[in-house]
Amino acid sequence: MSDLEPDQQCDRFAIHAAGLTRYFGDQLVVDRLDFCIPKGKVTALLGLNGAGKTTTIRMAMGLLDPTRGECRTLGENSRELSTRTLQRIGYLVEGHYLPGWMRVSALERFARSGRAHWDADRFRSLIEHFRIRSDQRVGRLSRGQRAGVSLACVLAADPELLILDDPALGLDPVSRRALNEALVEFAGGTTRQGAARTVLLSTHLIDDVERIADDIAVMIGGRLLVHTSLANFTTRVGRWMLHVDESGVSARFHRELHGLVEARRACGHWELCIANGDADIKAQIARALEVGGGEANASIEQMETSLNDLVIAYLSTEGSESFREANEHVGA
C-alpha cells in the first residue's frame, strides 16, 4: 500500500506522508496528503480551524491511525513508533494540557523519565524565563506559565523533531514573545548527537511564521495546497489590482485565469491573488478578461504583498466555488 521506500526518507525527511487520508465517520478530514518535512528546517503548518492540521499531526505522532495511506516519522511508520523514536520527538499539544495535581518539580521528574538526554539546565532556565517556581502546582499556573512549563518539558528533552500544535493559543503578547524566542533559539541549534533540529509548527499567527519558519504548508479542507519555502511562496504568488467594473470579473474569467487564488472586490477595484503566474502576467489577465467578456485594456497593477495577505487569500479559497467543485469528487 505504501508508496514509501524506507531508504527514501530516513535521511532527508523528518516526516514523510503518502496518500495520508483520514475520515471521521462520513467526514473526510485529511485527503490524500503527500508531503515531506525536510530535516533541519522549521515548517509552519497553516490552515483554518478544521482544515486537518491537528489530525495530520496526530497521525504523524501515532495518536491516530490513518484511514488510508501511511506516514513515516523519523523513518518509522507512525502507527508503530518505537520508544527510541519517541525519545527523539517533542510534542507540544494544543492547549498546553498538563496534569493539574502535579507540582512543577514532579512534572519534571515525570517528563525526564524515559528520556535519554535531559537538559536540566535548559528546563530550569526556561521556567525561570516564565517566572515559575518548581514547587508550584501546575493547576495554579496561568495559561502562559503552563505554556512555558510545557515548552520547557519538551525542549529539555533535546528532541530532534519538535511538533508544536498551536503553541501560542491564548497567550498574551509577552508570553508569545518568550515562546518564540525560545523556539528560535532551539531551532537554530543541534541536538547533543549533532543532529539538525526539525520543527513542525501548526499555528494561526502568520507574523510568528514569518519570524521563525523556513517553509510554509497551507492546508485547506483536508488538502495540502502549499508546501514550499517562504521565499518561493512569496515569489510565486502575487497580488494584482484590476481596475474594471463589477461585470468584468465573471465566472468565465475565473475559469480562464489559471492560478487565480482569490478575486475580491474592494474600494471600486478588484484585488486578484494569483499563483504560478506566467512571466507576462498582465497579458494573461487581459486575455482572461477578454474571454470573460470584460475590458481587455483594463488597468492592472501589482500590489504590495505581505505573507499575511497571501496566506489569508489562500485560506479564503476554502469557501470558493471552484474549491467546492474540486472537492465534490474527492473520493474517487
Binding site: 503527500d34 505522532m61 488510508r68 471552484s322
Partner: protein, 735 residues
C-alpha cells in the same frame, strides 16, 4: 518510565481509595455477626455485597483512568512520552489493582483478625466466612479491564459499547455461584478454567483496545480485503472479536434459558407452587398418585392439604419399562383414599461447597439450658443464651462431633448434611412439646443418637449413606428407615433398644388438642430387613446430580408383604418398582405426570421461536434428555414440540436472511459474511444486530473506474482493483 507511569496512574486514583475503604468498612462492619443467637449468612451476603461494590469500584477506576483520554490534548500529552503504549495500559491496570486491593484489605483484614479473636467463643462465625467475599471481590475486578475496553471501543453508547460489561458480570456471578454451590469435579474445573481464562484474556483484550482500537475511531476491526493488499489486523483484535461473540452467546443462552426453558418446564410439566404430591391407597389397596393443595382451615384453625386430583398407579401392563398412561381417579372416590405413609424428605449427602458457614439448627431447650445450636464444618456448637446466664455476650458452651461432646476431631461428614431427623420423626408423631434433649443425626457415614442431658453421642448405624428418609406406616405405626447407597436400597425397621420401653406412638388429634405429653425417645435400634439392588435407571440420577433436587421417594407396604418403591423426578415422571416378599423386583413401570394447568399453546410457540435452532435443541435435549430419564412425552406434547421446532426453524431462516442483509449493508468480506451466517444458526435474530454493532458503517464512495461503491479504508477497489484516483489539481498549488 514504567515506574513513573505507575506512580502517576496510582496518584490519579489515590483519592478514591479512602472513599472506597470507608464504604467497604461500613459494609464489612454491618456483615459481622452481632450476637451469637443471630446467625447471619455472613459468607453469602458479604460475598454478594462485595461482588456488587467491587464491580462498581473497578468500573469507577477504569472510567477515571480512561475517560480523560477521550480528550485529544490529554491523549497527545500522555502518549507522546517515550514508552510503549502497553506500558501506559499496564501502569493503569497495576495502579487500579493496587488501589482496588488496598481498599478491601484494610477492612477485610481487620474483620479477619477480629473474627479470629471472638469466634467461635462469642460469635457463631469463622474468619473463613470472609474468604468467599474476598474471592468474589477479586473476580469483580474484571470490571476494570472491561470498562477500559468499553471506553476505548469506537462504538455507539446506544449500540454495543457497553456490551462488554456483560461478561465480567457473568464471570462474577459464576464465581459467586461456584463458591456457594456444591459442584462436581468437572463443574469446578469449568469454573476455574473460565475464571482463569478471563483473568488472563480480559486484561489483554482491554490492552489491545487501549493501545490500538482507541487510535481508530472510524472503524472497529481491520479486515482482510478480498483482493489486493492485506491490512494488518492486530492479534488481540481477533481475540476481542471472539470474546465479544462469546459474551453475546452467553447472554443469548441465559436469555433463552430464562425465556424458554423455564416457561417450557413449567408449562409442559406440572407447576409445583402451592401443590404437594403424595401417594395414597385406593380402597382396593392400589396406590394412587395424588396432588394436594394447601388449604387454611378457618374452622379448625390450622392448615391442611386437600386432595385435588388423583391418578391410579396401575400395575404394570407389561414387564419391565413400559410407559403407562395414568388413569384418573373419579372425583367421588377421592375422599376414600387413605394415607399410605408419612415419608420424610430425603436427605442427600453429596458434594459440598468449598466454603462453610454456620448453619442454624434448633434442637429445642434441653436440661442444660442450651437454646440453640448452629453447626459449622461438621461440628455442633451449643451456645449459652444471654438471657439465661446474664452475661453480656453469648458464650460457646460446648461443641460436639461424632466422637461426642467436647470433640472437634471427628466432624460429621459432609459438614452441611448433618440431618437432625428428630423433628422429621416427630412431625408425624404430633406432640405439644418436642423432646429436645434427645435428637437423631444422620450424615454420609452413619446414623447417630445424641443426648444433651447426658452429653452422650452414640452411633446407631455405621455405613455409607447417599440418601436417607424415614417412613411411618400409619396403619402399623412402625417406623421404617430407608437408605440409598450407590445402587443399593436398604430398609431398616426402627425399634427401641431399651427393654420395656416402647417407641412413642402417634397421637390422635384429640390427644394433640389436649396437649398430652409423650414419652421421651428411647435408644433406637436399626434392624436391617431388606437389601435391594436398584436398576440402573433408578440409581443413575442419584449419583449424577450433586443436589438431587426434586427427587422424591415413597416406600409403601404391599398387601403381599412386599414393598412398593415410588420415585418422582423433577415433577415430570413417576417410576414404580414392585418388590415382592422375597425381595425380588417383579415389575418396573414409568408414568408421565399429567399437566396440572395447560399453558396457552400460542405462548409456548412464540417463546420458543425466540431462540435459535441450536439453543432450542439444547433446551429440548435438556428437558427430554436421557439423563433426565424422561421418555418421550405424550402425543399432544410431541405435537407441541414439533410445532415449536417449526417456529424455531422459521426463526433461524429469518436470522440467516437478516444477517445476510446486515453483512451487505456493512460491506463485509465474503469470509466475514460466511462466519456471521454460521453464527446466526447459534445466535438467531440477535446476529444481524451484532453485525450492525460490531462492524461500523464505513463511509463509501463510488469507484472512479467501475462506479461501484467502495469503503474508504480499502487500499484499492475490491471489484475492479483500480487504485484511488490522484488528487485533482486546482492550479493554485505551490510546491
Amino acid at each position: 518510565m514504567f515506574i513513573a507511569l505507575l506512580w502517576k496512574s496510582f496518584r490519579e486514583i489515590l483519592l478514591t481509595v479512602p472513599l472506597a475503604m470507608v464504604v467497604l468498612s461500613v459494609i464489612t462492619y454491618l456483615q459481622m455477626p452481632a450476637r451469637s443467637d443471630q446467625v447471619q449468612s455472613t459468607a453469602s451476603s458479604y460475598a454478594s455485597l462485595l461482588a456488587c461494590l467491587g464491580g462498581a469500584y473497578a468500573m469507577v477506576l477504569g472510567l477515571l483512568q480512561t475517560w480523560p483520554l477521550r480528550r485529544t490534548d490529554v491523549r497527545g500529552w500522555l502518549f507522546s512520552h517515550p514508552a510503549p503504549r502497553w506500558h501506559f495500559y499496564f501502569a493503569d491496570l497495576f495502579a487500579a489493582v493496587a488501589a482496588y486491593l488496598l481498599a478491601i484489605l484494610v477492612p477485610w483484614g481487620i474483620a479477619w483478625i477480629w473474627l479470629g479473636q471472638v469466634a467461635p467463643a462469642t460469635r457463631p462465625a469463622s474468619p473463613w466466612d470472609l474468604m468467599p467475599g474476598l474471592l468474589v471481590y477479586l473476580a469483580a475486578l474484571s470490571f476494570h479491564p472491561a470498562s477500559v475496553w468499553m471506553m476505548n471501543r469506537p462504538s455507539s453508547w446506544f449500540g454495543s459499547r457497553t456490551f462488554v460489561l456483560a461478561l465480567p458480570g457473568l464471570l462474577t456471578f459464576l464465581a459467586f455461584i461456584g463458591l456457594e454451590t456444591a459442584l462436581p469435579a468437572w463443574g469446578w474445573g469449568l469454573v476455574i478454567a473460565t475464571v482463569v481464562l478471563f483473568v488472563v484474556l480480559y486484561p489483554l483484550i482491554a490492552g489491545e483496545a487501549y493501545t490500538r482500537l482507541s487510535n481508530a475511531p472510524s472503524r472497529v476491526y481491520r479486515r482482510r480485503s478480498d483482493v489486493g493488499d492485506n491490512n494488518d489486523r492486530p492479534g488481540f483484535a481477533r481475540l476481542a472479536y471472539c470474546v465479544a461473540v462469546l459474551a453475546s452467546t452467553a447472554i443469548v443462552c441465559l436469555a433463552a434459558w430464562m425465556l424458554v426453558v423455564v416457561p417450557l418446564d413449567s408449562s409442559l410439566f406440572a407447576p409445583t407452587q402451592g401443590l404437594i404430591d403424595d401417594v395414597m391407597f385406593a380402597g382396593d389397596g392400589n396406590p394412587c398418585f395424588v396432588r394436594k393443595a394447601y388449604v387454611w382451615n378457618e374452622d379448625r384453625g390450622y392448615r391442611h392439604y386437600e386432595t385435588q386430583e388423583a391418578w391410579l398407579l396401575n400395575p404394570e401392563l407389561e414387564m419391565f419399562h413400559e410407559v403407562s398412561q395414568l388413569e384418573p381417579v373419579e372425583a367421588n372416590q377421592i375422599a376414600n383414599l387413605k394415607q399410605a405413609s408419612y415419608v420424610t424428605n430425603m436427605s442427600w449427602f453429596g458434594a459440598q461447597p468449598p466454603f462453610r458457614e454456620f448453619v442454624q439448627d434448633y434442637f429445642g431447650t434441653g436440661p442444660g439450658g442450651l437454646s440453640w445450636h448452629p453447626t459449622y464444618d461438621g461440628v455442633y456448637h451449643a451456645y449459652v443464651p444471654r438471657q439465661s446466664v446474664q452475661v453480656e455476650e453469648d458464650l460457646l458452651q460446648v461443641v460436639m462431633d461424632r466422637n461426642g461432646f467436647g470433640s472437634t476431631e471427628a466432624p460429621f461428614h459432609p459438614y452441611h448434611a448433618i440431618t437432625n431427623f428428630s423433628s422429621a420423626l416427630e412431625s408425624h408423631l404430633p406432640s405439644p412439646s418436642l423432646t429436645g434433649d434427645v435428637f437423631f443425626l444422620a450424615d454420609a457415614e452413619g446414623l447417630y443418637q445424641a443426648s444433651l442431658g447426658e452429653r452422650r453421642v452414640e452411633t446407631l448405624l455405621s455405613e455409607k449413606i447417599d440418601g436417607f428418609a424415614v417412613m411411618i406406616d400409619p396403619a402399623r405405626e412402625n417406623i421404617i428407615a430407608f437408605i440409598l447407597a450407590g445402587d443399593t436400597l436398604r430398609l431398616y425397621a426402627v425399634e427401641s433398644d431399651e427393654p420395656g420401653v416402647a417407641l412413642p406412638k402417634r397421637m390422635t388429634e384429640e390427644e394433640h388438642k389436649r396437649g398430652g405429653e409423650r414419652a421421651p425417645w428411647p435408644r433406637l435400634r436399626f434392624d436391617e430387613q431388606i437389601e435391594i439392588k436398584l436398576p440402573p435407571d433408578w440409581y443413575a440420577p442419584l449419583a449424577g446430580e450433586p443436589t438431587k433436587q426434586g427427587l422424591t421417594h415413597w416406600l409403601l407396604p404391599r398387601l403381599d408383604g412386599g414393598w412398593l418403591l415410588i420415585q418422582q423426578r423433577a415433577m415430570s415422571s413417576i417410576k414404580r418398582l414392585d418388590i415382592d416378599a422375597s425381595n425380588q423386583i417383579v415389575a418396573r413401570t414409568s408414568y408421565y405426570l399429567p399437566r396440572a394447568k395447560p399453558s396457552p399453546l400460542v405462548r409456548d410457540l412464540l417463546v420458543t421461536s425466540l431462540i435459535p435452532v441450536v439453543t432450542a435443541s439444547a433446551a429440548l435435549f435438556e428437558l427430554a434428555g436421557p439423563q433426565n430419564h424422561v421418555e418421550l412425552p405424550r402425543v399432544t406434547d410431541r405435537v407441541l414440540l414439533l410445532l415449536c421446532l417449526g417456529f424455531v426453524l422459521a426463526h433461524s431462516l429469518l436470522a440467516w436472511w437478516f444477517t445476510e442483509k446486515a453483512c451487505t449493508a456493512r460491506r463485509l468480506s465474503i469470509r466475514s459474511t460466511t462466519t456471521w451466517r454460521c453464527a446466526s444458526v447459534f445466535l438467531g435474530l440477535i446476529t444481524p444486530l451484532l453485525v450492525l454493532s460490531f462492524h461500523h458503517r464505513i463511509a463509501s464512495v463510488s469507484c472512479h473506474a467501475c462506479d461501484r461503491m467502495i469503503r474508504v479504508d480499502e487500499p484499492r477497489c475490491p471489484h475492479c482493483t483500480a487504485a484511488w484516483k490522484p488528487v485533482e489539481h486546482l492550479g493554485i498549488e505551490v510546491f
